[in-house]
């Protein structure tokens, strides 16, 4: 088996530990998460607010150290390297931000911001860098002349394209896209999703696509990981997870998403109640407080991720799972 490009092993992250006067209890935003992204593969990381998906994205990029576990990038342990070595490795992994209105420096021309990646890592300088920056702009669907403009002169969708161009400049092998379309209009969303799919095919990029929207993941990602309260509930190929989910939470997520077909209206909301506070997660299975199928046993211990029959498709539920897709 080919080693994956990015591998997180048992990663956890706790916030709010230090500080004598903080008086706040530590919060485990992420716990026991393992996932892999192969070369050229697009993996979707799906969860609602408080699921810890953004935290995982940043841990995978080495921007945030995990409190436990480790992250391997092309075999290199990110938790063990620092300083200049880590900065050099950055060239190969990049981030696309959620809000296109604050992810670009308002005081600098967009061409210069794209060229930054080239000059920092010594890939090009001066006029060569400017030319290549303009080429990147073209690749994402803008005009080379736009390099001389400032961010405020572009629309939200265009700014997001610039953000993607900036991420491509260093020639990365791995791209983390943190909810890249959530802040955009519907028509711009479709454009950016198409762009990302296209880039992945052309450049063989590995991608982690973070989103709260399951349907959006369908066309871009071959595999998907579903998170709830910082833990993996289910993972597998997009096809398998979306057509026959094995975890009640995934089923509820899918059923909650409104459908374009008016004939397929739900009769009632699939999931009741509020998500629990990350500071006080329920004992045993963290989803049991809202699960329609909860058993007394669910309170005892955290269910491990186990195979469901289809290879690569795993769910963290002690039940059989075959009826999870139902009402």
């Amino acid at each position: 088996m080919i080693a994956p490009l990015v591998a997180a092993e048992g990663v956890g992250r706790v916030f709010g530990q230090r500080g004598l006067f903080s008086g706040r209890r530590p919060v485990a935003a992420v716990a026991e998460v393992s996932l892999t992204v192969g070369r050229g593969e697009a993996v979707g990381l799906v969860g609602e607010s408080g699921s810890g998906k953004s935290t995982i994205g940043r841990i995978l990029l080495g921007l945030l150290p995990p409190s436990e576990g480790r992250v391997l990038f092309d075999g290199i342990d990110l938790t063990r390297i620092r300083g200049a070595a880590l900065r050099r490795l950055r060239r190969r992994m990049q981030l696309v931000f959620q809000d296109p209105y604050v992810s670009l420096d308002p005081h600098r021309r967009v061409g210069a911001q794209i060229a930054d990646g080239l000059t920092i890592h010594g890939l090009a300088a001066g006029a060569a860098a400017t030319a290549r920056a303009a080429a990147f702009l073209e690749e994402v669907g803008l005009q080379p002349e736009h390099a001389k403009r400032y961010p405020h002169q572009f629309s939200g969708g265009q700014r997001q394209r610039i953000g993607i161009a900036r991420a491509l400049a260093t020639g990365p092998d791995f791209l983390v896209a943190d909810e890249p379309v959530s802040a955009l209009d519907v028509s711009a969303q479709a454009q950016i999703l198409a762009l990302l799919a296209d880039l992945r095919r052309r450049r063989g990029l590995a991608m982690l696509f973070i989103s709260h929207d399951l349907p959006a993941v369908r066309h871009l990602c071959s595999r998907v990981v579903v998170l709830y309260l910082g833990r993996v509930m289910e993972e597998g190929s997009t096809e398998a997870v979306l057509t026959s989910p094995r975890h009640p939470y995934t089923a509820a997520l899918l059923a909650s998403a409104p459908s374009l077909d008016p004939a397929r209206r739900r009769r009632s909301a699939p999931l009741r109640g509020e998500p629990p506070s990350p500071a006080k997660p329920p004992t045993g299975c963290v989803f049991r407080t809202r699960c329609r199928h909860a058993l007394p046993m669910c309170e005892q211990a955290r269910p491990p991720l186990r195979e469901t029959g289809t290879p690569g498709h795993r769910a963290a539920c002690i039940r059989d799972g075959s009826d999870a897709g139902g009402a």
């Binding site: 609602e48 607010s49 990029l61 921007l63 900065r87 050099r88 950055r90 060239r91 990049q94 981030l95 931000f97 809000d99 604050v102 992810s103 670009l104 420096d105 005081h107 911001q113 930054d116 920092i120 890592h121 629309s155 969708g157 265009q158 953000g163 900036r166 260093t170 209009d185 519907v186 028509s187 711009a188 969303q189 479709a190 454009q191 999703l193 198409a194 799919a197 709260h212 929207d213 399951l214 349907p215 959006a216 369908r218 066309h219 997520l253 909650s256 998403a257 409104p258 459908s259 374009l260 077909d261 008016p262 209206r265 739900r266 009632s268 909301a269 699939p270 999931l271 509020e274 998500p275």
Partner: protein
Amino acid sequence: MRRFPWLAAMAVCVIALTAVLAPVLLLASPVRIDIAHRLGGASAAHPLGRDELGRDELSRLIWGARSSLTVAFGASLLAGVIGIGFGVLGGFFRGVVELLTVRTMDIVLCFPPLLLALLVVTVLGPGIGTLIPVLALLFLPGFTRVAYAGVLATRALDYVEAVRVLGVHPTRIMLRTILPNIGGPLFVQFSLAVAAGVILESGLSFLGLGVVPPTPSWGLMIGAARATMTQDPALLLWPCLALSGTVLSINALCDGLGERADPHGVVRWRRSGLLGALLPGLAPPAGAVLALADLTVAIETPSGTIHPVREVSLSVGAGETLALVGESGSGKTLTGLALLGVLPDAARVTTGAAWLEGREILRLDPAARRTLTGSRLAMIFQDPTSSLNPLHRVGAQIVEAIRAHQRIGRRAACIRALSLLRKVGIADPEQRLDAFPHELSGGMRQRVMIAIAIANEPRLIVADEPTTALDVTIQAQILDLLATLQRTSGLAMIFITHSLPVVAEIAERVAVMYAGEIVEEGAVAEVFAEPRHPYTSALLASAPDEGGSPPRPIPGTIPQPHALPKGCAFTPRCPRVLAACEATHPPLLAIAAGHRSRCIRATEA
């Protein structure tokens, strides 16, 4: 637009220049005493007369400027350099560094400035040599705080993180990205410090504890002139004028530079009565709870008047949900706000009519309109966090809505509020009644907003993207709640959204808006199955779909309101455009019963 404060800047430059050039200007000596001519009047050699010791007043004024400005600038510069260093280091490295740099400044802030200055002067004696360091110490916390806050704010911005992701060295990040962003507030702080320095120095000199005579200082001059106030008031007035004028100029410069460009422009609080009389023959369709005819909203912008809502007509019946769908800039939210009468002050309704249960509401006087707003006609807003007042308890805000329209006592209103909370699905409502908005989750806040909207049993609710800010599982709960409330009370709803799947989920009829106009309207099943406008088709195709086909993007972008295309607004992006489309502006025409479209090719196969 920000206007550069030319007048203030020139005044400051003139004053500063005069002070700097004092030694080379041909002035009389400021220190030569001439008792024989004390309190002498104005003359050719002494344009402003002489002071109580016979010295030339004008010369003393100018040399006094020199003292004050030297102290003020020197102290501000010193404080600025050290303070910015402290603040930036503390903000960037946090931890122990922050403790040493920023937190220690809090100790300096424990002393009122003049007091600390007096203490130090007691210890070290007066004079410029003492004044500059002590004033620098006083200004240090201000600079440190501004730099620190600026660094923290900039650090949190995505584009700084983006630079970090690129692999840039921390120092380079600091210099390149953060410093230019905090330049503005720091400059303002510098001007404030200089002004404060001038005031503090003159105050201390006034008390005899600042600049040491014979060096002239405005403070000293004012102090001395007090004794001869009755005999020669002018002697007192000149230094007062010079001092006040200098501080005023610096303050004006500071204000002028620090003023943010106000994107809203001058807000004019509207007077009503701008709508013309109702045209005869315009009447609402029978049986409609709400009917809108040709609603047009105008907004004044620096680049001219724009019309973000143009001739919108629609109607909603009892128990029915009409979805108003469009992207940002389509005018859907403004339409809803116009109905409720809560448009922003820069916008106003220019033409059109709206009937609520047969009664025209846009031409009512404000008091009459208010009896309907929040009772017969209610609104649910998009962001429940910002739409609830963070300082009042949730219960109080519901009770307020109830008592605005029902004559009941507070206790009765509280009981009603409790039942409303139960109705919107909030468990343990007694506790929630006393909670503040920030103590509730997003979903619960939206339920509270719904409770406020249904408090007075409205006939129509306008819901402006009520689930956009919520998680998808909570969104399902809220949509469910709205549908249930509608079924049990028969109220009509206008549901504003940008999401087509949500429209399919909740509405019977849909009106699609583009660039301020309705482009298609009809029953949801019909419109979604067979859209009759290219924009509707394109929107449907661009939504992610369970069918399996990938979302197809719409080329181009939404037109700006000041640059609308001639003819049909969608022509630049339309795949089925004809020459006729650009020529005339197409009207909204019925193409089947209850189905209208603005496309001239709507009836084609």
